[in-house]
Amino acid sequence: MVKRRVDEPRYEGAEAMVGSITGLLYPFIIVFGMYIIFNGHDTPGGGFQGGAILATLFIGRLIVNPVNDIHPHLMHDVEQAMFVLILLLPIVFLLMPLHRAYPLLKEPYLIAMNILIGMKVALGLTIVVFRFGFDEELL
């Protein structure tokens, strides 16, 4: 594995092309993933799908520039916090029937759940791919 500095990635030859094109794709990946997540309650899609698309941001970056510079434990802690919120939000909103008392909150509830699931899935898939890649020295 070639270890490089993160802040100055050095691309040579064909790698430069791949790096440039992938860098060009980052904002589109972010916008597409956010669109899938935020419209998950109205159109096909949802948290899991949008989260997987957001995870391809990190995975594409890993393919272009294989540096193990994420903070997996911090991401894991954030993911656990997301899971706690995913657990608490339906309990508060559905089991204690706030959805009957406040029907206007139904749609914000769906959007909030999709955002939480999307963030959790994106962080989780990123951790998995980075762990598998650098454990076997595949990259």
């Binding site: 510079d69 706690v84 657990l87 559905l94 769906l110 999709n114 989780g124 951790i127 762990r131």
Partner: protein, 103 residues
């Protein structure tokens, strides 16, 4: 500290499930399931007819996995979390930032 947080969450879940009878689907879904055990299109017909006013979603799939069967989603999230806990535990990678092996 983590133990107390876990205990509080379990207690909250137990207290929350006391309100289970007030959640949708409305009881007529179970009546439909019981009365038409051989006709499984009845509950799905109920969902398709009522999901917009029940959940506020325009997408029936989102209505099902975020409202009618939200426990499925919760346990799926738990499944993913447990898988990642196992991966974090068994794949110890030396990170250049931390210098040391991870815990």
């Amino acid at each position: 500290m983590n133990r107390w947080i876990t205990a509080a969450m379990v207690l909250f879940l137990a207290v929350g499930s006391l309100w289970l009878e007030n959640t949708y689907p409305d009881p007529q879904v179970y009546v439909a399931v019981a009365a038409h055990a051989g006709a499984p299109e009845e509950p799905s017909r109920y969902v398709l007819d009522n999901f917009v006013e029940d959940t506020g979603a325009q997408n029936a799939v989102a209505a099902i996995y975020l409202s009618y069967r939200v426990y499925d989603t919760v346990f799926e999230a738990l499944l993913l979390l447990i898988a990642i806990v196992g991966i974090m535990h068994f794949f110890r990678v030396e990170s250049p930032r931390d210098g040391e092996k991870h815990r």
